[in-house]
């Protein structure tokens, strides 16, 4: 209602972004594993103002039966934005955007899951974006990956994800909402870093070939950093409880 205004500049004179980050800086990330009681696996991610909760059920019996695959698990995924997650209230009915994102997230996670270990079952991944601040599909993938691990589902590797893009003429990583809206390009990427496997890539905007390559490389590097936070969050949950002084799943990514 009291409308947000377009920022005057997205990069200031000292080359810093509107929230003070350098081009290669991630926003602060907080990861928690095992946050829900009923889900078989769950995780929560806070990244900037993004707050996303993921619950996983499965492997479990599939309904309706005709969806069954004889040689692997079906993976189902729903990405949903809570009505209160955005500036303007979001209608609860699924939007076309949510339907597309559910699909690309599923396709980003499928390469990691050892689906062939669980024939004739379904693995359900529910992603609830409780507050949205740019890059929710990437943040959702990061948390979903943890929730799958928390559910004990075999994976080749954790999938990490981060966007890069171009704002104020500069290639940067991990765009926040304003940078996404008013910037020149957004390039979300999901990666299994050790396997060098890109499992999601999309792009909106306008990038030269050179800018594109730079953005892809920066996004990949950001994925690697996030991959470390993910590992830490799992360790904290499973081998942890030892040194609880420092919140281990929270990382300030600026080096």
């Amino acid at each position: 209602m009291s409308k947000e205004k377009a920022p005057e500049r997205l990069i200031d004179d000292s080359g810093l972004r509107i929230d003070g980050r350098r081009p290669e800086d991630l926003r602060p990330i907080k990861l928690e594993v095992g946050v829900l009681e009923n889900a078989d696996g769950s995780a929560f991610i806070q990244q900037g103002k993004n707050k996303i909760l993921v619950g996983v059920f499965g492997p479990r019996e599939i309904h309706p039966k005709h969806m069954v695959l004889p040689d692997r698990a079906v993976i189902r995924c729903r990405y949903r934005m809570a009505p209160f997650s955005t500036e303007e209230r979001k209608n609860p009915a699924p939007s076309r955007r949510e339907i597309e994102i559910s699909k690309v997230i599923r396709e980003a996670l499928e390469p990691a899951v050892m689906s062939e270990y669980y024939p004739r079952t379904v693995i359900d991944i529910f992603i609830e974006a409780l507050q949205c601040d740019g890059g929710t599909r990437c943040a959702g993938i990061v948390a979903a990956s943890l929730a799958l691990a928390d559910a004990g589902i075999s994976m080749k590797e954790l999938v990490s994800a981060c966007s890069a893009g171009k704002v104020g003429g500069q290639v940067v990583v991990d765009l926040c909402d304003l940078e996404d809206k008013y910037g020149e390009a957004d390039l979300p990427v999901a990666l299994m870093p050790n396997l060098s496997a890109v499992t999601l890539i999309q792009m909106d905007g306008k990038l030269s070939r050179e800018e594109f390559e730079k953005a892809l490389d920066m996004a990949s590097e950001a994925c690697r950093q996030i991959r470390n936070f993910q590992a830490e969050a799992l360790r904290h949950k499973y081998q942890g409880m030892v040194d609880t002084e420092e919140p281990p799943a929270t990382g300030e990514a600026s080096k």
């Binding site: 009291s2 409308k3 009681e37 009923n38 619950g55 609830e128 507050q131």
Partner: protein
């Protein structure tokens, strides 16, 4: 169409255990019959919402976000803002919750929360009119159930109330009939604090704040909404069993007492 639900997957043994305990006036987790589980209320957790709260009631967890937007009044109440309550039983909250449009359980839950707020006049909707018959504020109360371990009605209503009590909406002025929003916000006009108290009939006894296992063993459910002046403002029986008048009257008495204590907790968290 409403249909008898599938009986839960809970093993008969477990149900028998709940009932056996009930026959001795005892509960699974050792609570007294009118005891609530531990309540935790956090507010202001969703910065983009006009108000928000998360209530944890034992292992049940509910998040509520309130959004205030400009809209049109209903034709028969041109001078009043609009309150609308919506529930999503998010599928990550329980294995059998499904995606898709809200089913009868979500709709009933939304309507009970709505009834508690509306009948107690919790929101002073007359203060939400901008230009009569034309523009008013619409208050969207969106309830997301995140973890289900029973008694969703109470947890949802407490969360809705806490979100509203800590909610804000923009100050504005009218210039030549146009609405100009300022950058400043004012608290939502909250007049009353309805507190529902829900009971499950397990065997021959009523237990307050049932957990999910008790709900699966119960024959009927009764929710009694009590407003800040000890008036009954809403009531709802659920389940395919029955109650008798004396049980209901006793439940009302208990609810009046219990609601004072619960209201205190909610008010404290919503300061």
């Amino acid at each position: 169409m409403s249909a008898t639900p599938k009986t839960s997957g809970m093993a008969k043994l477990e149900r028998d255990a709940v009932l056996e305990l009930a026959s001795k006036n005892r509960r699974l987790d050792g609570r007294a019959l009118t005891d609530y589980r531990k309540i935790k209320i956090e507010t202001g957790i969703i910065e983009k919402a006009n108000g928000s709260a998360q209530v944890t009631l034992g292992k049940t967890k509910v998040m509520v976000g309130v959004k205030v937007q400009m809209g049109s009044p209903f034709p028969d109440t041109p001078n009043e803002g609009v309150q609308t309550v919506n529930v999503e039983l998010t599928p990550l909250a329980y294995p059998t919750f499904e995606t898709g449009p809200p089913g009868e359980n979500a709709i009933e839950l939304a309507r009970i929360v709505d009834r508690n707020l509306r009948e107690s006049k919790a929101i002073d909707v007359t203060k939400l009119c901008i230009t009569p018959g034309n523009k008013v504020f619409v208050v969207f109360v969106d309830i997301n159930v995140l973890d289900h371990d029973g008694n969703l009605i109470d947890a949802s209503t407490y969360a809705a109330l806490a979100a509203l009590m800590t909610g804000k909406f923009p100050e504005y002025e009218l210039k030549d009939g146009e609405v100009i929003f300022k950058d400043s916000f004012q608290p939502l006009p909250i007049n009353n604090h309805p507190v529902p108290v829900t009971f499950a009939k397990v065997g021959k006894i009523l237990v307050a704040d049932p957990c999910l296992k008790e709900e699966e063993a119960m024959s009927a459910r009764l929710t009694v909404g009590i407003d800040k002046d000890d008036f009954v403002c809403a009531m709802q029986k659920g389940g395919i069993g029955e109650l008798d008048s004396n049980e209901i009257k006793a439940a009302v008495e208990t609810a009046i007492n219990k609601s004072r204590e619960l209201r205190g907790i909610i008010m404290e968290a919503s300061k």
